[in-house]
Symmetry: C2
Subunit: 428 residues, 2 copies
Amino acid sequence: MTTPLRLGIAGLGTVGVGVVKIVRQKANLLAERTGRPVVITAVSARSRDKDRGVNLSDYAWEDDPVALAKRDDVDVFVELMGGHDGPAKDATEAALAAGKDVVTANKAMLAHFGQELAIAAEDAGRVIRFEAAVAGGIPVIKALTEGLAGNQVSRVMGVMNGTCNYILTRMQDSGLPYEDVFQEASDLGYLEADPNLDVGGIDAGHKLALLSSIAFGTQVNFDGVELEGIQRISIEDIHQAAELGYKIKLLGVAQMTGRGLEQRMSPCLVPEDSPLGQLKGGTNMVVIEGDAVEQIVLRGPGAGEGPTASAVMGDVCDIARGFRLATFGAPAQGLQKAKVAQSNSPAPYYLHLTLEDKPGALAKIATVLGDNGVSIDRMRQTRHNNTNAPVLIVTHKTTRAALDLAVTAMKDTGVMVNDPVALRIETV
Amino acid sequence: MTTPLRLGIAGLGTVGVGVVKIVRQKANLLAERTGRPVVITAVSARSRDKDRGVNLSDYAWEDDPVALAKRDDVDVFVELMGGHDGPAKDATEAALAAGKDVVTANKAMLAHFGQELAIAAEDAGRVIRFEAAVAGGIPVIKALTEGLAGNQVSRVMGVMNGTCNYILTRMQDSGLPYEDVFQEASDLGYLEADPNLDVGGIDAGHKLALLSSIAFGTQVNFDGVELEGIQRISIEDIHQAAELGYKIKLLGVAQMTGRGLEQRMSPCLVPEDSPLGQLKGGTNMVVIEGDAVEQIVLRGPGAGEGPTASAVMGDVCDIARGFRLATFGAPAQGLQKAKVAQSNSPAPYYLHLTLEDKPGALAKIATVLGDNGVSIDRMRQTRHNNTNAPVLIVTHKTTRAALDLAVTAMKDTGVMVNDPVALRIETV
């Protein structure tokens, strides 16, 4: 089999350039490993004249990614433009309709339109591969769909937004407040154009929805992800959690329960000596739990030219080798919509309250918790120098529903200075 | 494609039974994921009458694994007998010759005969898959050969013998000496019939040789692995390493250098706050470093019914899906013998010496080190109550060759009570 596999690359940002470099520099290695040459025939990007540090003169240029997607000399359309709809989606659809396989790093597009694109791929007898869309260089899609194919997966968890993990780690290390570290991250260029995609948990939520679909064999459902960002995490919460033996992480958890599929992306406390607790900076981690394999932990860089291009090339090599896998690991026509379950699996919770410093305030809160069936594991009022008293409570296992009722009732006690911070303590 | 994939399983120990359970219990899931039924048609083991807790009555029985391997109603020969030659190898060869694919968990057989078996598979147009042979449930072979196919790998490291890691962790936690913990492990049934396979590093060395071949595209060469077991690690070494901020692990390292391929399996010091340093008990970990992906860390159970059966089933599902990959990731005929390099990459070393407690002893040792170009980073003589003085030295980066010369010269000083313990401090 010496027919070359011909790539058309749309999008020549960091990742696109990384892919071009690998294809150019490792032609022999790729041919040896896949049994056929892997070549680029055409590229497309917004600006033709920009110097990207790689030689593009061998490749045909298309201003329009849709035109690129349809070219006769392209076998695989590599979509690295981004954007959940618009040109990326148009070009992906055009590529499939024209009988091309698609490799993409576009988590937003697949989180929103994964099911319809998977159907389109299936109808066209083509594949969509998206290892680069989740957890950067970590081959987690492959691990879940292939390596662990003999497992019934029970839970998938992950820290999958490097920027949020950078911010939380940096707050802990520096003692600086959220706002300062957010600004640092912004100055360093770590944030998306719309920072809410990062700190609001949306980007990580996209990734969780994709992992969920694969893990549980259900239609991707981003709307079913309960999202909570890290914007309300204070340096005090980080310090208090540390004193209790925990780290705060923006953690995605998808688990199948008797009530349906729970998907949540939210700041959680995890034990500081667990693999998730030890994760620092921009590194990503995914934890997979299956009935046979027990628990697998995968750790690696979540972004960047090399790691993301590595993931794209893994997909490209699979296609070159003739490995053809349904987009979400099983035929799209057969995927069911998961019943969405409110995230209510019991867990201990961390509560950070600010009370007016007057007699009986703490008693009122304790009573409200008890009345709502939330029992207290540990409670402490920390030192303070003003009229407000910070109170920390770790509950025994409870449901989010019971906790929310208790929190609502707390607001009627007249002793709360502001809304409490309530963070799940995830068992990992 | 609804033709069933028919398995013949040779070996019904823990792993074999685990595979039978998955195939029986997850028929629908496997069919959905792979697009075809996966069934067992025949089995073979030493004793037919043993109660294994699974119903085998649906399957043909063969006393002879070679006969099983040749059966017309078997598509994939699943070799779970073990033993580096003998029946396992005979049956594997018979299966390939009869046009069957092979899935095996047999690291010893592949470490010794991997190249010739890969050639036999290639000649027969068949595949050998062996995810279960390395690091139990962790899909590391898949990650290396497929997910990271776009990378030039520079180094692969791993803790791949759960028993050794259990022993070292237990020594640290309990403060018990090696001999006691070895006996505990033996009583718990953690050790191979020949314990030297575990504590001598041979089993882990087999796994390293397989990873090496895949990572660097060379012929598997177990004889090129420098082996050193954990038998000489004392509780004092573990405590001293801990005080210096390190853990002692039986660590395999394969790296390509300008001088050739270094492969070593030996007790090393790793920083206690690194993922490797934090690994406890029977868990395995593999660290892969590639030019594009930077560093990926994979962690999971290294043995046991479920995890190992999970790895076997990952391979079976790949075959059911029609994924056909060369045994070591690239055509066997094209694999070169790696130039074997003595393990000499510079590193700091930990030295534990026992000196006669007399004036000038320490000075003699320091002089010998200096004369051989080994410079001292830290040195201390620990408290002692007898006539021998324990001395700990951490060197600056040096080569093993220089260190060995220094150690040889030390023995001529007349102040050494016994052979020093010299452990590499691996940069991870």
